[in-house]
């Protein structure tokens, strides 16, 4: 280790603000880049799944309303 204590590591010999600000920004950029595509992918899968379910529900309603009575007539 290049420093004698943790406090000295934090102090960076007077350059603490510059060094830690740079690393803080780096972590911010890296975290954002890692999270954005994962969250987008997740949201997209869920949205498309909901659309699929709505479409299926519509089909079921159409089937019940459209062919239901006809079918009943035929059988009676």
């Amino acid at each position: 280790m290049s420093f004698d204590s943790f406090a000295e590591l934090l102090a960076m010999d007077g350059h603490a603000l510059y060094v830690w600000a740079s690393y803080g920004l780096a972590l911010l950029v890296l975290t954002a880049n890692a999270l954005v595509p994962v969250l987008y992918h997740r949201r997209l899968l869920h949205q498309q799944w909901q659309q699929q379910r709505r479409a299926q529900a519509r089909e079921a309603v159409d089937a019940a309303a459209g062919s239901g009575p006809q079918h009943a007539q035929e059988t009676s």
Binding site: L9, Y18, L25, A26, V29, N33, H41, L45, W49
Partner: protein, 257 residues
């Protein structure tokens, strides 16, 4: 080898194939990237010796150099993807340009910001209209241009072509950034890594830098691939394989990856 390349090229035309293969690449690249970045950062912050002139402010190099290198490489990636899109009309190349642009912009901004912060204790100013810093600022605006151009054109195919042309033309800025420190003798120092000579730093300084650079690149490929997977899902949502996938894995918002 040649037949292998031809097969790969053919497969790259299939978004479905890429969607699956990219997932298995990400499983390796993301942990490798994160591990290398953490190792390089900790080594650079706590274990590398301070610079004899700059003291501890030199540790900013472990943020600044990897982000600046990556920022330029991402634009070259976009330029190559642009050529592939225009010549072979590969859909995947268009998705790469679209997804890479904001990532590249963020790393260019990080390189500029960390450079500005570094400049205060080292140069006594946070900004100079130095050849390299100016060329790097131009790169940031080129990234913004590619992003804005796509949003300005409604038709996806036309927007993709326009972005490809801007990415190809914009590549002219890359050699300017690279050779700016040799052509104009201003404040910015010369290259840290060269192919032809050993670094001017001791190994305990440049080895953690090399590890961080490798980490940044692995990280970029992983997040690019994940972004492209999302884009594939969006563009191919009418296809049968996507609707089957959605039916299988879309039920829980937290379960899909």
């Amino acid at each position: 080898m040649w037949t292998w390349i031809k097969q790969l090229w053919h497969k790259l035309g299939s978004p479905r194939w890429f969607y699956d293969i990219a997932a298995s690449w990400i499983r390796w690249l993301l942990p490798i990237g994160i591990l290398c970045i953490v190792a390089g950062f900790v080594w650079g912050l706590a274990f590398a010796p301070p610079d004899y002139q700059q003291g501890n402010s030199f540790r900013i190099i472990y943020v600044h150099v990897p982000s600046a290198m990556l920022a330029q490489s991402i634009f070259i990636t976009m330029g190559i993807a642009g050529v592939i899109l225009l010549v072979w009309r590969m859909k995947l190349a268009d998705m790469v340009i679209k997804i890479a642009a904001p990532i590249g912009a963020s790393f260019t901004a990080l390189a500029l910001a960390s450079g500005a912060i570094w400049g205060v204790p080292t140069w006594g100013t946070w900004w100079v209209w130095d050849a390299r810093t100016t060329a790097m600022l131009v790169l940031l605006f080129l990234y913004f241009g590619v992003i804005a151009l796509r949003q300005a054109i409604a038709r996806e195919e036309t927007a993709g072509k326009a972005c490809a042309i801007l990415a190809i033309v914009g590549m002219i800025d890359i050699p300017i950034i690279k050779y700016s420190v040799n052509w104009w003798l201003t404040l910015h120092q010369g290259a840290t890594f060269r192919l032809t000579a050993a670094p001017a730093m001791p190994p305990e300084m440049w080895i953690p830098l090399l590890i961080t650079v490798i980490g940044f690149y692995a990280f970029f490929v992983a997040v690019l691939f994940q972004g492209v997977r999302g884009e594939i899902l969006r563009r191919e949502h009418r296809t049968r394989w996507v609707s089957e996938l959605v039916a299988q894995r879309g039920a829980l918002p937290g379960a899909a990856s």
